[in-house]
């Protein structure tokens, strides 16, 4: 039942890498935003795993809840970012009828 911390960290690292990979390879803006969410969740997982591990060792660095609290805030930040991001995607869609990253080509140089 007790998952080792290493496994959690490895999973987080894989999630993070997937997020970066998705960001770099996909052209659809919505998928790009989703990839960013993946990276944020990797951070969440690491926070929670780290918090559990430190608590197990009795090292708490101020408050044992720092890690979980941070992940709550990350979720909040992710939501805000998604809200603004989707709004901007809609604005672009109205102007260009496309949600592909390539359609943004006005600014170059």
């Amino acid at each position: 039942m007790n998952v080792p911390t290493e496994h959690l960290l490895a999973l987080a690292a894989i999630l993070f890498s997937l997020g970066v990979l998705g960001f770099l390879t996909r052209k659809n803006l919505i998928i790009v935003l989703a990839s960013i969410e993946l990276m944020l969740n990797a951070a969440n997982l690491t926070f929670v795993a780290g918090s559990r591990a430190w608590a197990a060792e009795g090292v708490t660095g101020g408050s044992p809840l720092q890690g979980p609290i941070f992940s709550l805030f990350v979720i909040l930040v992710a939501a805000a970012e998604a809200a603004v991001g989707l709004a901007l995607i809609i604005a672009l869609y109205r102007l260009k009828q496309s949600v592909a990253l390539d359609s943004a080509g006005e600014l170059k140089g």
């Binding site: 960001f23 690491t46 591990a53 430190w54 090292v59 930040v77 600014l107």
Partner: protein
Amino acid sequence: MNAYIEQMGLIAPELVLTALSLFVLTWDLLKKGRNSDHIGYATLVGLAVTGWLLLQQWGMLGDKGTQTAFGMVTIDRFGTFFKLFTVGSMAVVTLFVMLDKNERKHGIGEYYFLLIGASIGAFFMVSTNNLLLLMLGLELLSLASYSLAGFHKGSKRSAEAALKYIVFGGLSAGVMLYGISLLYGLTGTLDLGLMGHAPEGSGAVSLATQFDASPIPVAIAVVLVLAGFAYKVSVVPFHFWTPDVYEGAPTPVTTFLAVGSKAAGFAALLRFVGALFLTDGVDASIVAYGDRIGFLLAILAAITMTLGNLSALRQGSLKRMLAYSSIAHAGYVLMGAASMTSEGFAAAMFYLAAYYCMNLGAFGFLIYFEGVTGKDDIDSLKGMGWRHPVVAWSMVVFLVALTGLPPTVGFYGKLILFYAAIDAGLAWLVIIAAINSVISLFYYFRVAKSMFLTEPVPQVPMRQHGLAGILCVLAVVTVLAGLGAFKDPLRGWADEGPASLEIYATDAGSR
């Protein structure tokens, strides 16, 4: 309860700004469609109050910072220095918005609301030693900036700028958050003071200790966090969004991004690097890896200034050129951080103050020029010098300052940076920076050339006395500061900033 109120007093400037943002939004709702200048004046009054409070706070703060809100907020001179300049630049940006002919059509209340929101983010970002609040401040600043960049809803360029900004901003936030989570995992704390120096029984492990045990995870975590900051201050290789966003965003917003947002990013970067690696600050055990980070920053600085300057050479648009120039200047400021000494940090702070002054001027000129011609390319500046002499000569002062020539504050700032870097053994970096000033002369003076050296093309002489006045004042300040007129406040403030940082860093552990 009294203690609680007292603690709230410490964040009074932030509270005033928050109240101001809500007030502006509400008032705009009530006065829909009527004279929007009143909102601008209200904003200016609010900013003045905030500035006054900050000055009071500066006077009350000693060399040592103080903490509130359970250690989340750190009020020290380092942060207050940046807050003062953020407020100052916000006031100038507000004036720009009020005077910019292109900005009247849109919901002006929301515009101010977002600007104020962004500065609240910047305020918290520069006044915390806790990575959680730092991250939240940064996100608040970023989210407001994303919306501001896309404020011209109907404009393809604006929408595209905002989208690029949020996509790359989201990436950097993800990278940075992952880095922070690793740092937390390694040290068991989010407090930078404890991370830099964790005494016995504090319940945390200092990063230096962890570095000795497992260097690679520590290096990865630190580099990931630094990447997030590098994005915010547009350091190569995280700069690629800058020209596009600066060009597409409404010009007053670009001004804020180039000045306020960048300075806040640098403040957080300096605090982070300072708490963890400042070699003359904390204890000897971190010197070894502090030097390595210094070297990394020095290389980034060299690449950033060179690439920024070389790219600026071939820009036709003044706005885009200023964007690349701001990348180059990020490289100069980074020299100060790379020195890894208190003098270096003070020099970086002073240079940022100088940068506020000259860049506000340069962007103000851009707004004026766009108002006159509706264009932003350098070739359309032809004859500007003869039609608008006061504004054009002010711009020459800013160009001289940006190039780093005396007698302007740009030179003074660069000189101090060079000191700090040579003193830290980075003579090669100084030589690269010096060569870069020569390169930068070439593109800055293309503007002067266009304004003065070519025959005027006929255009409608349209005057904007308000803007011209602001530019004139900024130009005079740029020169006077360069002659040492404000040496006591400016140099003194910049010198005391890192001092408070350093004392805090040594002190944090024993708290």
